[in-house]
């Protein structure tokens, strides 16, 4: 008991001493070692101009970096770009958001017609606001606020303020409006920043010619001139040599083989649409094949993937039969639509191959993953196969699985080669000369790049 009392008294004394010691210690406030960061020097020479070679709705800002960007105090972390926008923008934004909601609700269902009415009212209101939106920019500096339009990291000295061309988009940037800009150099403390002089007004507008594409324009003009020159030359009777294409020369033999065997010819136009150049070239070859087929009175099967392609192909085959003097032999179902599903189309064509066992399969046009599925099935069916495509990834598949393959541009040359018309052969010559020009320019460019003749390589630089 005595021991407990002694311990208690000792603890009490200890506590008293420590409290009195604390009271006696002068608490020195911690010295504020972080000094207030000075605001950075502002950027200078801010300019804003319309962005070149575009459709408008974009302004490019350039400036000279702040002396504290990288050098000096080195405190600039990034630049924040502000554009003056009229207060009306918030109202536009709100109405746009309500309109989008109404459109969504309308998609779900509108049994009472109330949503449609609200949507129409909002549409009118939105159109009215937008018609006054451009004028609102002219009220600077009244009735507006500065709005951040983006940031640029330290070291950068330009920024493109690109808006949408769509009036209904939230970032719509109208053309021919007065825009004012200010750029702030910002430190690691977001509050410590320095603004530049305000620059404006500046307008955005679309250009009538993209000067960044002058090299392409020149190349197109040069090639057009070459084509027209050689076509004219061919028309005057010049003898133009065209190297033989084994794949095309085999077409006649293949049709003959089909006639002898009494089996049909299967012509596949691929998965391209009627707007693909490869499909258009394929139409021409189909016309030649169909004419021969009509002359030899062999059967032709043309299953198509695209309804527009089917319509064009029907017209091509029909004309070929008329040209061959056998219009009555033409059956519209010769060219028929199968499906617009890639592998369902493959299944249908492969089924045709295995049921009809065509003597010849011709694949000309655009092909994708189905190329090998078709060509291998054709090989299994024992058909002679001729293929041609400009899809570079599919060429190896056709080479291994087909007897003859037209590689890349040979597909386009095939129509000229089949027809042997001087006008068409003329364009082939132009292609050959253009290729020669590309090879020469390529070698010259190689030398120029190694010798540092940048003025030569810059001539061919395409911007935007």
């Amino acid at each position: 008991m005595k021991l407990k009392t002694v311990i208690f008294i000792c603890l009490l004394l200890l506590a008293t001493i420590s409290v009195s010691a604390q009271e006696g210690t002068e608490v020195v406030p911690e010295a504020d070692t972080t000094e207030q960061m000075p605001p950075p020097a502002p950027i200078s020479m801010l300019t804003a101009t319309d962005t070149d070679n575009d459709n408008g709705h974009s302004v490019t800002l350039t400036w000279e970096a702040s002396p504290d960007d990288g050098q000096g105090a080195g405190t600039v972390m990034f630049y924040e770009i502000f554009r003056w926008v009229p207060l009306m923008r918030d109202t536009v934004e709100q109405v746009r958001s309500e309109l989008a909601n109404a459109e969504q609700e309308l998609d779900i269902g509108d049994p009472t017609g109330e949503i449609k009415e609200r949507r129409n009212r909002l549409r009118d209101e939105y159109a009215g606001l937008l018609s006054r939106y451009s004028d609102a920019y002219g009220q600077y500096p009244n009735n507006g606020i500065w709005k951040s339009v983006g940031v640029s990291p330290s070291g950068d000295t330009n920024f493109v303020d690109k808006g949408s061309k769509k009036r209904e988009a939230f970032d719509y940037l109208p053309d021919y409006c007065d825009f004012y800009y200010q750029v702030f150099a910002v430190t690691s403390d977001d509050e410590i920043r320095t603004g530049s002089e305000i620059f404006g007004p500046v307008h955005s507008y679309g250009q009538l010619f993209n000067t960044g594409r002058i090299p392409i324009f020149a190349a197109v003009l040069f090639f057009c001139f070459m084509t027209i020159y050689f076509v004219q030359k061919a028309k005057k009777g010049a003898d133009l040599y065209v190297r033989p294409l084994a794949g095309i020369e085999a077409v006649d033999d293949a049709i003959g083989r089909a006639t002898e065997m009494g089996k049909p010819i299967l012509y596949v136009l691929g998965l391209g649409t009627a707007s693909d150049v490869a499909t258009i070239a394929s139409f021409t070859i189909l016309g030649r094949v169909a004419k021969k087929v009509a002359e030899y009175q062999t059967a032709l099967i043309v299953p198509t993937y695209d309804p527009i392609v089917m319509t064009v192909a029907q017209e091509v085959v029909k004309s070929a039969y008329i040209d061959a003097g056998r219009p009555d032999d033409f059956k519209e179902d010769t060219v028929h639509f199968v499906t617009q599903s890639q592998f369902a189309y493959v299944a249908a064509v492969n089924g045709t191959m295995l049921r009809e066992l065509p003597a010849t399969n011709v694949y000309m046009g655009k092909f994708f993953a189905e190329s090998l599925l078709l060509a291998e099935t054709g090989a299994v069916a024992g058909s002679i196969q001729i293929a041609g495509t400009d899809e570079i990834a599919q060429i190896p598949f056709f080479i291994v699985a087909c007897d003859y393959t037209l590689i890349g541009e040979e597909l386009y040359a095939a129509s000229a080669y089949l027809g042997r018309e001087p006008v068409l052969l003329g364009s082939l010559k132009a292609q050959d000369w253009a290729k020669a020009a590309i090879v020469i320019l390529g070698i010259t460019g190689l030398i120029a790049a190694n010798l540092g003749w940048t003025y030569f390589t810059d001539l061919f630089q395409v911007m935007n």
């Binding site: 575009d54 459709n55 998609d107 679309g206 250009q207 009538l208 010619f209 993209n210 594409r213 392409i216 324009f217 197109v220 090639f223 084509t227 076509v231 649409t273 150049v277 070239a281 139409f283 021409t284 030649r288 198509t304 695209d306 309804p307 527009i308 089917m310 319509t311 017209e315 091509v316 085959v317 029909k318 070929a320 040209d323 519209e332 179902d333 028929h336 639509f337 199968v338 599903s341 592998f343 369902a344 993953a369 090998l372 599925l373 291998e376 570079i392 060429i395 291994v400 699985a401 890349g408 541009e409 386009y412 129509s415 006008v423 068409l424 364009s427 082939l428 292609q431 290729k435 590309i438």
Partner: protein, 271 residues
């Protein structure tokens, strides 16, 4: 005149498309997008022609009882079945008389087709088609558990529509795609036979590249093998590909030019 107007249209719009590439102005873009929209519009109308072509070919097979003509019934069932499912949706949990309606509607379509193609018993088929049409109409009027939706997308969520699409079409298409693996093997076997010097070179190059991507071989293949494989892919292979691409590019421009100038007329059925 029948040919001159299309040629004039091709020239005008073709030339516009060339110049449009060099004119970034908004008006030029607007015309460009407007013209592209027309491709979609024409495509929709052409699809009707495509379906008509498919119908005719299938009906012809059934009519003449060509080899495997039974599959044509399957095509027509799939075509009309999905159309019916796509335009109908359930109003609640109950299925009501939905299945009898679908069966009656498909039978009605089948009878109409048979009326069109059959040479005998036409009256019987016509009578049956009227009967099934009447049944379908009656069910659709009195059954409130489902309804038609022609102007909205409710039908896409129809469980029947989704089931046929997800559980039949997708697996079948995937199977077709999977066949590619076996076809690649058989094609590679034929291509890589060392018949002559060039074929042997192809075989060696192919082996080097294939071993590079084999998960077990790199252990013994080493860094040099990987470098050699990369060199083959990035130097000789890429060089040849680029040469082909340049040729294709020029070929496309030349063909487009021939079409615009009316030199190439094969696509109009006049070579």
């Amino acid at each position: 005149m029948k040919r001159q107007i299309p040629f004039a249209l091709v020239f005008i719009f073709g030339a516009f498309m060339i110049f449009q590439y060099f004119i970034p102005h908004e008006t030029s873009e607007w015309v460009y997008e407007f013209l592209l929209d027309w491709i979609i519009i024409i495509g929709i109308f052409a699809l009707a022609l495509g379906i008509w072509s498919l119908l005719r070919v299938s009906m012809d097979k059934i009519k003449n009882k060509k080899e495997n003509y039974v599959y044509s019934y399957l095509i027509l069932f799939g075509l009309f079945g999905e159309i019916i499912f796509g335009f109908t949706a359930f109003n609640g949990e109950s299925w009501g008389f939905y299945i009898p309606f679908v069966v009656c509607a498909l039978l009605a379509i089948g009878m109409v087709i048979h009326t069109m193609i059959s040479t005998g018993k036409r009256t019987t088929f016509a009578g049956l088609s009227v009967l099934f049409i009447l049944l379908s109409v009656l069910i659709s009027i009195f059954d409130n558990s489902w309804s038609f939706h022609f102007s909205s997308a409710e039908g896409v969520q129809n469980p029947m529509f989704r089931s046929f699409f997800d559980h039949i079409l997708i697996p079948v298409l995937s199977t077709m795609f999977a066949l590619l693996a076996f076809f690649i093997a058989s094609a590679a076997y034929r291509a890589f036979r060392a018949r002559n010097l060039l074929a042997t070179l192809l075989l060696v190059a192919a082996l080097i590249v294939m071993m590079r991507f084999n998960p077990w071989v790199p252990v013994i293949y080493g860094d040099y093998g990987a470098k050699l494989s990369n060199w083959l892919m990035n130097v000789p292979n890429l060089a040849a590909q680029r040469a082909i691409v340049i040729g294709i590019g020029l070929g496309i421009v030349a063909t487009a030019l021939k079409i615009i100038l009316g030199i190439e007329r094969g696509y109009m059925g006049k070579g």
